[in-house]
């Protein structure tokens, strides 16, 4: 994408019918660190990669609880994401207060999308630079939506956004047909495996990812590091066994060493 004379204003169309500012906003989403979402008929798992600015700082919060039955993972301008999460929490709690009933996630994403659309049609505003993976429940079960800076929203069985998300998407494309009937545990495993794909070679450790689950009868909550590590161990060990007997002795020691916080394990980890 290159600079052109139609891209200064969000309210300027290009001759080919494009709004460049909106498209640039979608670029911002691609620059953020990866976020992944998958759903079965009864559960939704959101996972993301924890990227910290430097070794000294903590990582940014990218997954937010909106309500017991709705969670959101963001990629892009996290400040915009935080503000939109606050809006979603507000909508959700107002609905609960008036109707004593959870806000159906499908209705929440429409409100969110309409809010984003406004910013694409006002000359004094700019589009939100954040993509949101919204997972939640309504009367017909579990749903996963992707909300775009353009004001569009789509429903997905599984999706990934942010940098190197294509790798995760490729993995998900291979496996998505089984997700509908997946068990909760398998869904979590698939989410973490998808996160691993975006790391492209880096060793997968529980400190590098944040995973959240919600489902029918299970309110939104984060998985703790121990649980995530246990899941990682189930497939990391298998992979190492396959690599060959020669490394078998060294492998367990390596795994142990990698875990004991030689890197950026920040105090603010979830």
């Amino acid at each position: 994408m290159f600079r052109n004379q139609y891209d200064t204003d969000v309210t300027t169309w290009s001759p080919t019918g494009r709004l460049f500012q909106v498209e640039y906003a979608m670029e911002a989403v691609k620059q953020g660190s990866a976020a992944i979402g998958l759903r079965s008929r009864t559960h939704v798992v959101l996972a993301c990669v924890n990227k910290a600015q430097s070794e000294l700082s903590s990582h940014q919060k990218k997954i937010f609880k909106v309500d017991d039955h709705i969670g959101v993972a963001i990629a892009g301008l996290t400040a915009d994401g935080r503000v939109l999460s606050r809006y979603m929490r507000s909508e959700s709690i107002n609905h609960s207060f008036t109707y004593e009933s959870p806000l159906p996630v499908g209705r929440l994403v429409v409100h969110l999308a309409d809010k984003a659309q406004v910013c694409t049609q006002r000359s004094w505003k700019r589009p939100y630079g954040v993509g949101l993976l919204v997972g939640g429940l309504d009367e017909s079960g579990a749903h996963l939506y992707y909300n775009c800076p353009s004001g569009n929203y789509f429903e997905y069985q599984a999706f990934a956004i942010g940098s190197r998300s294509q790798a995760a998407k490729t993995y998900l494309e291979r496996r998505f047909e089984s997700f509908e009937e997946s068990s909760r545990e398998d869904l979590i495993k698939d989410a973490i495996l998808a996160v691993r794909e975006t790391l492209q070679g880096e060793t997968l450790k529980s400190s590098l990812c944040t995973v959240s689950v919600l489902g029918v009868g299970e309110p939104f909550h984060f998985l703790d590091q121990e649980t995530i590590q246990k899941v990682i161990d189930t497939f990391e060990k298998v992979a190492e066994e396959e690599e060959g007997e020669a490394e078998a002795a060294a492998a367990p020691a390596e795994q142990g060493g990698g875990d004991s916080g030689d890197l950026d394990v920040a105090p603010m980890e979830m």
């Binding site: 008036t98 109707y99 004593e100 009933s101 159906p104 499908g106 209705r107 309504d138 009367e139 017909s140």
Partner: protein, 245 residues
């Protein structure tokens, strides 16, 4: 004549001009509603009278209406306020339907919405002068609740408004049990309505019974109860208090 700049109803209590815009007393009123949970859902009974003070002025008022797919609303108190509430609910149900997304408002949601409306109006000293009964069935769960004009709201297995609270509920407390059949439920309601007919001055002998189940709402045609006035106690009503005044 002093000219008062009309201020918003935040000052309703003090501003005389705003006074004429808030409800001070009811005018055309409906009397009791009685409702019970039964095996398949909820049964509700009401008469069709609208009193204008002590005059039994209107005799064809339907005080029970279906709301959406899953709820039934009965109202006692000011009829015009009931009609206003029906308009609010109409809009609510319309917007719910427009979503067209497989989600729908159940009786619990409608009840809570009404509670918010009634309580907020009460806080502005401009109440909707009704006691509402909300019953319904959704996804196999039966719901029955009540909201008063001051926003007091609760659920129960059997509810009654106005005189019904005093005359019908004792009967229901004794004779209601879970899983009543339709016939037994109707009999029980008719028993309550008969007592109300004898003893409530604003009751008329023209009633409807409505039922709501998972399938939907049906409101019966109006009919009247058989009454018996030959009780010995009715024969000489002034027996215990003879005198010229």
């Amino acid at each position: 004549m002093t000219f008062t700049i009309p201020i918003d109803n935040g000052d309703a209590v003090k501003n005389a001009e705003a006074d004429s815009q808030r409800t001070l007393y009811p005018y055309v009123t409906g009397t009791s509603i009685v409702a019970i949970k039964y095996k398949d859902g909820v049964l509700m009974a009401s008469d069709m009278g609208g009193s204008y003070g002590s005059t039994l002025r209107y005799k064809n008022i339907e005080r029970m209406k279906a709301i959406g797919k899953h709820s039934l609303l009965g109202a006692s108190g000011e009829i015009s306020d009931f009609q206003e509430i029906l308009r609010y609910l109409d809009e609510l149900v319309l917007n719910d339907n427009m979503w067209d997304d497989g989600n729908s408002l159940g009786p619990k949601e409608v009840h809570n919405y009404l509670t918010r409306v009634m309580y907020n109006r009460r806080n502005k000293f401009n109440p909707l002068w009704n006691t509402l009964v909300l019953g319904g069935v959704k996804n196999g769960e039966t719901y029955l609740g009540m909201v008063s004009m001051i926003g007091v709201s609760f659920e129960d297995n059997h509810v009654a408004t106005g005189f019904g609270n005093h005359l019908a509920r004792p009967i229901l407390r004794d004779e209601w049990h879970a899983d009543l059949s339709f016939e037994d439920g109707v009999k029980l309601l008719e028993k309550c309505m008969r007592v109300l007919l004898y003893r409530d001055r604003s009751a008329i002998n023209k009633l409807q019974i409505a039922k709501i189940t998972e399938e939907g709402v049906t409101v019966s045609q109006p009919y009247s109860l058989k009454t018996f006035w030959e009780f010995k106690a009715f024969h000489n009503p002034t027996a215990g208090a003879e005198g010229s005044w």
